[in-house]
Symmetry: C2
DNA sequence: TGCTAGCATTACGTTTACGTTAAGGTTAAA
DNA sequence: TTTAACCTTAACGTAAACGTAATGCTAGCA
């Protein structure tokens, strides 16, 4: 059993447009088979798309995502200088950890604002039921 | 004592171009004082710039960052519908938690590739010292 | 006095990531 | 048979985030 997908299958599943998927193919992120002129996406394509969208959510460009794919493929083929690959992995790791830190900071800020708001709302509720100058 | 900064001070400190800072002002992220025609940045401006860059690292657009600033200001002035603010905070929180999850996944992948590479390198080292067909 | 450094504005150029027609081929139901 | 729902390529449009001139003011200094 080999599952395949049409372009609109994937578009629907991931909540993106058909145009976007075609664009990702243009940029070398996907390379679906063809049946006649129509694209036929494999499970591997689906996984790639998923990875690409994850990369996008983290602010990576399509070019960067593509480079990552290439690196992974090359690493799998053992045709790349492994040392070089390790260096690139390390770079990406540092970036991600910076992002993780950024996220923690922002989540803390949000929590702070949230609690402040709830306090204000509670106050308003209270003064709303009592006379205003209590 | 009130610290102030020139545009190139901030550019140097944050490793960005002067042009970028001016652009952020155009987009309403910063509003430095003027002395004659020259911009004079306060500590508040500096903090805003820092926040903006953090937002950028997480992939937010300048417009989104600006909206966050506006929300914060409004919240401080208590002139916003607090409920609405809470909803927006919650949205952003969900996004950030999605990103956090994405980061964890990618870091795990990186760790995996890293260990694979190191294994391969160790093997190569070993076979490099012994005859190739060992 | 003329040069250099640092600031400014205006405005056009560029890259990225698609959106949006336009124009058409294929298949299936009405 | 025509209408609808899929798919295709080609190509122009657009918003964002600056880069990159081009031009000009001003202050210090050899």
């Amino acid at each position: 059993m080999t599952t395949t997908f049409t372009i609109s299958d994937l578009a629907a599943e991931f909540g993106i447009t058909i145009r976007a998927i075609r664009h990702y193919e243009d940029k070398g992120l996907l390379c679906p088979r063809r049946e006649g002129t129509n694209r036929v996406f494999s499970n591997r394509d689906r996984v790639r798309l998923k990875l690409a969208l994850r990369g996008k959510r983290l602010g990576f460009s399509l070019a960067e995502i593509r480079e990552m794919f290439n690196l992974y493929d090359l690493a799998r083929d053992e045709q790349l200088l492994l040392q070089e690959f390790l260096v690139k992995l390390e770079r990406r790791r540092l970036l991600l950890e910076q992002q993780r830190e950024d996220i923690e900071v922002m989540l803390n800020e949000i929590a702070f604002f949230d609690s402040q708001c709830r306090k204000l709302l509670a106050d308003k509720d209270a003064t709303g039921k009592e006379p205003a100058n209590a």
